[in-house]
Subunit: 370 residues, 2 copies
């Protein structure tokens, strides 16, 4: 159902609401807009609630639809429902959503972060619409020109994942944007992956300093000189082959290259998964082998399961938003919720703000001196 | 050994040389510069010569070193040696090679194409140096601003591979370059992969027509209007996830994005291969399984074996150059030689030239009308 101008979002919580949320880290959940509907989202919340008693949810969507789902999962004592009749569809254009967002579960979910009721918003809705609406409702952080979307990348690093940003918030990024992405990425690595002294690399077509575009050379200098004060290690230029490596924890790039790298990696992994499945189905012997190897294959499959790295984090806004994959099932939603909890619990947003403010003063000095 | 100014390349073939090459498709081989030295290169030539009696080779490098290798492989009746004492090292800078290329096996190999003795040049040497020297010795085709490097990508398409270009000749490409890449890619798909009516896609961050950078929108129009006359199908924008898909045969992009996609795909495949190996080595049962699945795994491994897609094709020059991977072993070199033979045999170079000439007239009209 598309959004209309009618506003069905309640602006203030009912008197009995705080009980469910009291003393908990509160996450704002857009229950609508995913391919599998609100049932998969609520099932994901239940999975997370069971493992972690410190999470509470404000769930946004049509009350009549959500109430029975939440009752079935026995989540009544952990959830507050915020009635929002309208849904932003998967094919809604960003410009349309910015005009017609009122009354949608997406806008309602963002507003819970905007007005301070919740720390982080999670949505399975369409990326372009969510970013446009997030920029409108939450506004960019002071001094940030381009927000970024950060994703996790299965890797050889000890924490099992690397962070890459921007993977598609904006198709352009200049040197200052790239520096800010580095700083945001460092905060994310600390808060989300517990990496104390993150290693940052700048994506390029070669590792020699003379390679690549002009803005990359300037960004190289800016990030290098910010490393000491901001307590991270700059490893210099990295290449596409380093994305899953243990050389680096945070990979910085513009949203065009980042999006192409992300989708290429996903596409390659999918092709190999399909070929593997065919290889094991090919003969009686190979099917036998698959049975014997089941445990090992499951372990591998779990390691590269895209559902476990579900959650693009929107950064550079006054509030954190996590975009869960549109096709996420309960496991996927639960992974996004876990990440949201970690970021909220660690005071991620305040840390990013502080880091950007300190660094931007230094950079301004440096750019002025050049 | 680095190149010096002394020129040890013989400029004219000896009187007895043509016998070995007579009636054969002649390939010019730079035997030096690869990580495994000339022995691996000559072993690769022997592999190809055994399968295909129509190939002859002009092999460039230090005669004293090459002669025993060629004698050992019994290749004397298929090879002509061109003595060149100097080697372009893996870390040689393009600018250095352009000044000091004389006397190197790389320049000597390119010159055999330049003076018409050979149809295609194959080298394992360093990419940047090879491209710089190729541009200097062969010159760009009339009307081509930026040459491109095309690579093969294992895919779901019937021919088993898709073509992507540019993967790193230049970090920039404007709309006209992208159109030319499309046309070169179509010729390559016909000559190298026997695809009669290739499907071309333009790499972007989304498939909707309003997405991406300005030059991509113009390139979309240009390629679309060239499709009919040049007898290919334009499928529009494609994403990173489409690279290994069966939606498309030729993927067009700038050298920056193309290089990042290529290396990301390779990195992802390597990570999964390593994880698979670990999974199968993990326990007694899984090692048993690996034994049982051997045939199937070998089949899969062959399908995604990077040695089988060895060979970046330099296009847009007066002559075709194939860059074989620096670490190529005999199998890898033989794959590059096979590709070189196919392109030479099909009159690839003349076809590209004709196609670009026809299309450039049309495009000029179109750009003038806008």
């Amino acid at each position: 159902m598309a959004a209309t101008m009618q506003n069905t979002v309640k602006s203030a919580p009912a008197a009995d609401e705080p009980a469910a949320l009291k003393g908990r880290i509160v996450l704002s959940i857009d229950a609508m807009g995913g391919d599998r509907g609100p049932a998969a989202v609520v099932a994901g919340l239940a999975k997370s609630a069971q493992k972690n008693s410190k999470i509470g949810f404000i769930v946004h969507g049509p009350k009549a639809e959500l109430e029975p789902l939440i009752a079935k999962r026995k989540l009544g004592d952990r959830c507050v429902i915020r009635d929002a009749e309208e849904t932003v569809t998967m094919d809604a254009k960003p410009a349309w959503v910015m005009r017609h967002g009122r009354g949608t579960s997406m806008q309602s979910a963002l507003d819970s972060v905007r007005n301070g009721e919740a720390d982080v918003c999670v949505s399975c809705g369409n990326t372009g619409a969510l970013m446009a609406l997030a920029m409108l409702r939450l506004r960019k952080l002071d001094g940030v020109n381009r927000p970024a979307i950060a994703c996790l990348w299965p890797s050889r690093s000890p924490q099992g994942f690397n962070i890459m940003l921007d993977v598609g918030a904006d198709i352009r990024a200049d040197q200052t944007d790239l520096l800010q992405y580095a700083l945001m990425g460092v905060s994310y690595a600390r808060a989300g992956l517990n990496v104390a002294h993150p290693r940052v690399g700048l994506l390029n077509v070669g590792t020699e300093e003379h390679k690549g575009r002009a803005e990359l050379k300037v960004a190289h200098e800016l990030i290098e000189s910010a490393a000491n004060a901001s307590d991270f290690e700059f490893v210099g230029f990295v290449e596409g082959s380093d994305l899953p490596s243990s050389r680096v924890d945070v990979i910085v790039t513009d949203g065009f290259s980042g999006n192409i790298a992300l989708k290429t990696g996903e596409g390659t992994a999918t092709l190999i998964r399909e070929l593997l499945r065919e290889a094991f189905g090919h003969s009686f012997l190979s099917r036998m082998a698959a049975v014997l190897a089941m445990t090992s294959l499951r372990r591998l499959s779990k390691k590269i399961d895209p559902r476990r790295v579900n959650g693009g984090v929107f950064m550079g806004l006054n509030g954190t938003v996590i975009k869960s994959h549109g096709s996420a099932d309960a496991t996927g939603v639960s992974a996004a919720v876990k990440l949201a909890f970690q970021l909220a619990d660690s005071g991620f947003r305040k840390r990013v703000e502080a880091r950007l403010a300190t660094a931007s003063a230094t950079v301004q000095d440096q750019l002025n001196n050049e």
